[in-house]
Symmetry: C2
DNA sequence: CCTTGCCTTGACCTCGGCGTCAAGGATTAC
DNA sequence: GTAATCCTTGACGCCGAGGTCAAGGCAAGG
C-alpha cells in the first residue's frame, strides 16, 4: 500500500507519515518508481504511535514501543523499555495533575476572595458610603 | 528606576520587560536619553503579570488584571473582566485535570496489563501449560 | 582618554508536530 | 493526448514567551 492509503487507514495525513519517517520512526520501503510502500505491519506500528500520541506521549517516547513491535513482540508494550516509559509517564502525569490541582485551588481561592471583596463594595454602595470604582479599558495600539 | 533594576526586583529579565511592552502590557516612560523609566506602580503591574503567568495564564489573559490595576483599583482582580478570566481559567483547569486523570487511568491500566502479561509469560516458562490470552492495545479512532 | 556597565533597537533562534504551498514526476482514466 | 490523481523532495509557517547575539549609544570612574 502507498502512503495515501496508509494515512487514510490510520486516520492521519501523508505529511505526518513523512515526518515520522524523517524521525526514523516509520521507515518505508520504496517501489521502483520511488513511491513509499507499506504493509499491514506498518499499519500496526502506526496505530501504536497514534495511540500513544493521543495519550500525550511525545514522538520519542513512542520509539521503544515501535521497536518492540518491530522486534516481533506481540504488543508494543511487551518490552521493558516500554514499561519504563509507561512508568515515567505515570509519574509525569501525577506531577502535572498535582500541579494543576494546586493551581486550581489557588485560582479558586483568588476568585472567591475577589468576589467577596466585590460583595463588600456593593454592600457599601447600598448604604451611603463610598463611590464604586470603575474599570476602564484602555485600548492598546502597538 | 530603569529596566535592569525593575527586572531584578521582579525576578525577571530585561528581555521579558521589553517583550511585555511590545505587547502593550507594560508601556514605559522614557528618560531624555531614551532609557525606559519605571516607578513602583509598574512594579506592582509586573508582579501581577508574573503571578498570573506562574499560574499558567497566558499573557493576553493577564491584560484585564493589568488594566484593572492601572484604572486605580486596589487589586488586579477587582474588576468583572478579571473575574471572568478567573472563571474561564477554572473551567479550563477542570477540563484539563479531568483529561489528564483519564489518560492517567488508561496508561495505568495499560501498564498493569502489560506487567501481567509479562508475569504470565514468566509463569508459562516455569510451568509449560496453556498460553495466556494476550490483549492488544485498544485501537484509536481519529 | 579609555574602560566598564548600563542602555537602545533589530533580528534570528528555540521547540514539536505537523500544515501548507511549490515545482515537478508517475500512473491511471477516458 | 491529456486531464486528474497520486506521488516525490524541499522549504517556509505556526505558536508562546521569551533567549541570544549584534552593533552601537550614554554615563561615570580612574
Amino acid at each position: 500500500m502507498r502512503i495515501g492509503e496508509l494515512a487514510e487507514r490510520a486516520g492521519t495525513t501523508t505529511r505526518t507519515l513523512r515526518y515520522y519517517e524523517s524521525r526514523g520512526l516509520l521507515p518505508a520501503r520504496r517501489a521502483v518508481n520511488g513511491y513509499r510502500t507499506y504493509d499491514e505491519s506498518d499499519l500496526r506500528l502506526l496505530r501504536q504511535i497514534r495511540t500513544l500520541q493521543d495519550f500525550g506521549f511525545d514522538l520519542e517516547e513512542t520509539r521503544p514501543f515501535v521497536e518492540c513491535l518491530r522486534a516481533g513482540h506481540p504488543a508494543g508494550d511487551s518490552c521493558p523499555a516500554s514499561l519504563a516509559v509507561y512508568r515515567r509517564k505515570l509519574a509525569e502525569l501525577d506531577g502535572l495533575i498535582g500541579d494543576l490541582q494546586s493551581v486550581r485551588a489557588q485560582v479558586g481561592a483568588q476568585l472567591a476572595q475577589a468576589e467577596a471583596a466585590r460583595a463588600g463594595l456593593a454592600a457599601e454602595a447600598e448604604v451611603p458610603g463610598g463611590p464604586e470604582p470603575r474599570c476602564e479599558l484602555t485600548p492598546h495600539t502597538n
